[in-house]
Amino acid sequence: MEMKERVERFRDDFHRVVEEIGKVIVGQRDIIEGVLSCLFANGHVLLEGLPGLGKTLTVSTMSDALELQFRRIQFTPDLMPADIIGTNIVVESESGRKGFQFQKGSIFANVILADEVNRATPKTQSALLEAMQEHTVSVAGVTHVLDEPFFVLATQNPIEMEGTFPLPEAQLDRFLFKLKVGYPAQNELAAILDRTTANETPKADKILDAERVREMRWLIREVTVASHVKDYAVKLVFATRPETELAPEIVKQYVRYGSSPRGAQALILGAKVRTLLDGRYNIAFEDINQVAHHALRHRMILNFEGEAEGIDADEIVDVVLEEVKASHAAKSDRR
């Protein structure tokens, strides 16, 4: 198949999945596209929103649309790492011989829904670290490779912080995007009522299988990036770091630690998905701008002053974008 056809097929398949999820989920188009972008960019996604906004439903519907093995893990304070990754258990063979056998945990699936991830203890949350980064789990000195595609969707609630354990920075950094789920619009809420208060509830059909998802992941990485576009992404990431010259005043005042290199990777990968969806073959600054909030908001650690004043990371990203855009435009104007 020619590359052009592959790109067109990517776009079609992506939109088909979005449409299929849209049969169940009303609105939330940005969230659905963001989640799918993470899936095809080979990243993981963290969904944050108030209870009842359809986070879990979105994820389960997406798993319905994809012919992938889906597992849901409800994170609770008493959840143990072994419950997630698995453990060695003593098994007696037919001959009466006893030995250890690895019992796979819930993580051995293609799509994992880590529901209310911040309710588990940091010890349990950390069980996901290796799996999310390396796509492997190590138990008793043995490394087990997870099936591809491997995709973690975690949800968390920004309120009801009592009895929760905020995700550690290392864990947060492993999520490609952090998506904020908002309230549905008035007309959307009416549609939600129509769909959820009748006897028949819509269900998504299977659209893509694991093989197709792997192909789409490969295609995304084929998109080339021009050096000046790469520079732009790098400048954005540098501007989130208070110790750099590029950092605007708000970053210097309220941010303790800026984005890691994973932030730049997230910007470029997210932008590549947007590029293909827009029918282009090259990344534009606009693509990077569109994913900047999703990719950077959870990678900036606010200092005490920022926390005390209730500064939202999105405000900081807005300022960073404006400053970097302005410096870029000034350079262009000089020409």
Partner: protein
């Protein structure tokens, strides 16, 4: 990356790779399109950028030049030279800035992307051109960019080749030229051609005359004055001096020469026996010399010596002092010739004002007008002659035939005989109608002394003193 299709060069991040025409022909259509169009865009932007920077620089230069021209209206400044230097310097600065600010094809493509919202299609494609092993996706990108490049209008990106600054530059430069030739209300900006010619001519003659003097035969001081005269001759030729400055310089040198001549004369008189008559004449001469030296700071040393000698009242001491100063009676002839030359040149330069038709209603008469208004010229003169009357006299004197080197022949009725010499009028007989009753030489001396007293008593500018002196030089009788 910068591409020149005609020469077959690819410039990428400072690396120059030479490519033959064959290579260019082998390029895919899409690559050719992108290459040619982005190079064309960059060229267009470069013309715009370079012309903008040059014109901005020249506008600054024109502004500075205008300030210089305005200053030139009040003081003597070599305007044409100054303005030319400023404009050339600003042009060079503009060219250097323009060269440094040249945009590459990549930068041109980036600007185009930004202006036409091409979403970095062109700039990404330009960068891909330099890659050797391109992936399939990259080829697709090139094709996509080529489609856009085809449809884009270069004029939409860079609408005008010449920026606004370059278009207003000729207007500003024209204004500058007009301003340069606007006559100054103070009469000091431009030296009229006739006056300049007269000054130049005086300079040539002075240089020649001074060059002919045998400096080895003169004392050090006299030789120094002769060299000074030669240099001044060159200065009058080369420097764009105003008439006022030229007259001032000439008068200053004439003063010095006259003082030295007087000292030589005193030295000569001291060499022989001193009779009471001679002593009286010497005292008179010394008094005059002392007055003269006051105005010459360069001869302060001589002035002190003369004052000391006069205070001690010893002619012997005076003779010793003059000897110590190296004053030689033998310098007198040469100094006299120099004085005559300087007087003639002062007269020539001074008359250029009256002769010049431009001056009649223009700048130069403004000095006299100013004199009239201030009353300076007539303030100290006996008989309360006004400046207007004096100007009329100068004018009429300028129409008289000029004698060899002693000023003008006096043609006033009653004072000059047919032989050209003054006739003593005896008992001042009653004159006929239209004739003067007092001998001209008497009235001349009386008026001149009164004028001298007046100018010495009153704090008036040097140039006006000179003018009064020039006037009396011009109208002095032959015997003087």
């Amino acid at each position: 990356m910068l591409f020149s299709a005609s020469e077959g060069y690819i410039l990428h991040y400072g690396n120059v790779i030479r490519r033959g025409k064959y290579w260019i022909e082998k390029m895919a259509e899409s690559e050719k399109d992108i290459t040619n169009i982005t190079a064309g865009l960059a060229r267009r932007m470069n013309i715009h950028t370079v012309s903008r920077l040059i014109s901005v620089s020249m506008l600054w230069g024109a502004g500075v030049a205008m300030m210089l021209v305005v200053i030139g209206k009040f003081t003597a400044v070599p305007l044409v030279f100054g303005v030319t230097v400023i404009l050339c310097a600003s042009l060079i600065v503009g060219i250097i800035r323009g060269i440094l600010a040249r945009v590459s094809a990549l930068e041109g493509a980036m600007t185009t992307d930004a202006q036409l919202n091409l979403k970095e299609r062109l700039s990404s494609a330009v960068e891909l051109l330099s890659e050797k092993d391109r992936k399939e996706m990259a080829e697709l990108q090139l094709e996509d960019a080529a489609d856009y490049a085809h449809s884009l209008d270069q004029k939409a990106v860079c609408p005008r080749l010449l920026p606004m600054t370059a278009r207003i530059l000729p207007v500003v430069l024209t204004g500058l030229i007009i301003l340069m030739y606007v006559p100054s209300p103070y009469g000091q900006a431009q030296v009229p051609a006739e006056v300049r010619q007269a000054i130049k001519q005086a300079g040539v003659e002075m240089e020649t005359a001074a060059g002919k003097i045998d400096k080895n035969a003169l004392s050090d001081k006299a030789a120094e004055l002769a060299s000074k005269m030669e240099n001044m001759g060159r200065e009058l030729q080369d420097k764009p001096l105003t008439k006022k400055e030229a007259l001032k310089n000439l008068s200053k040198l004439a003063h010095e020469t006259e003082a030295l001549k007087m000292m030589s004369e005193i030295a000569e008189k001291l060499s022989g026996d001193i009779t009471p008559e001679k002593e009286r004449a010497l005292n008179e001469l010394l008094k005059k010399l002392a007055d003269n030296l006051k105005d010459i700071p360069e001869m302060a040393e001589f002035s002190q010596e003369i004052t000391k000698s006069r205070q001690s009242n010893s002619l012997k001491q005076l003779a010793d002092a003059l000897e110590r100063m190296g004053i030689k009676p033998s310098d007198m002839d040469a100094l006299q010739k120099m004085l005559e030359q300087l007087a003639k040149k002062r007269r020539d330069v001074g008359q250029s004002m009256v002769r010049s038709p431009k001056d009649a209603g223009g700048n130069e008469t403004s000095n006299l007008k100013a004199d009239e208004e201030s009353g300076l010229m007539g303030s100290g003169a006996p008989g309360k002659k006004t400046a207007k009357e004096m100007k009329e006299e100068i004018k009429s004197a300028s129409h008289r035939p000029v004698s060899s080197d002693q000023g003008y022949d006096s043609e006033l009725e009653g004072q000059v005989s047919e032989t050209g010499r003054s006739v003593p009028d005896g008992e001042n007989p009653v004159p006929k109608a239209g004739e003067a009753s007092v001998p001209y030489k008497d009235i001349y001396v009386e008026y001149r002394d009164a004028a001298d007293d007046a100018v010495n008593r009153t704090a008036i500018p040097w140039i006006y003193k000179e003018r009064v002196k020039s006037y009396f030089d011009a109208v002095k009788p032959r015997e003087f």
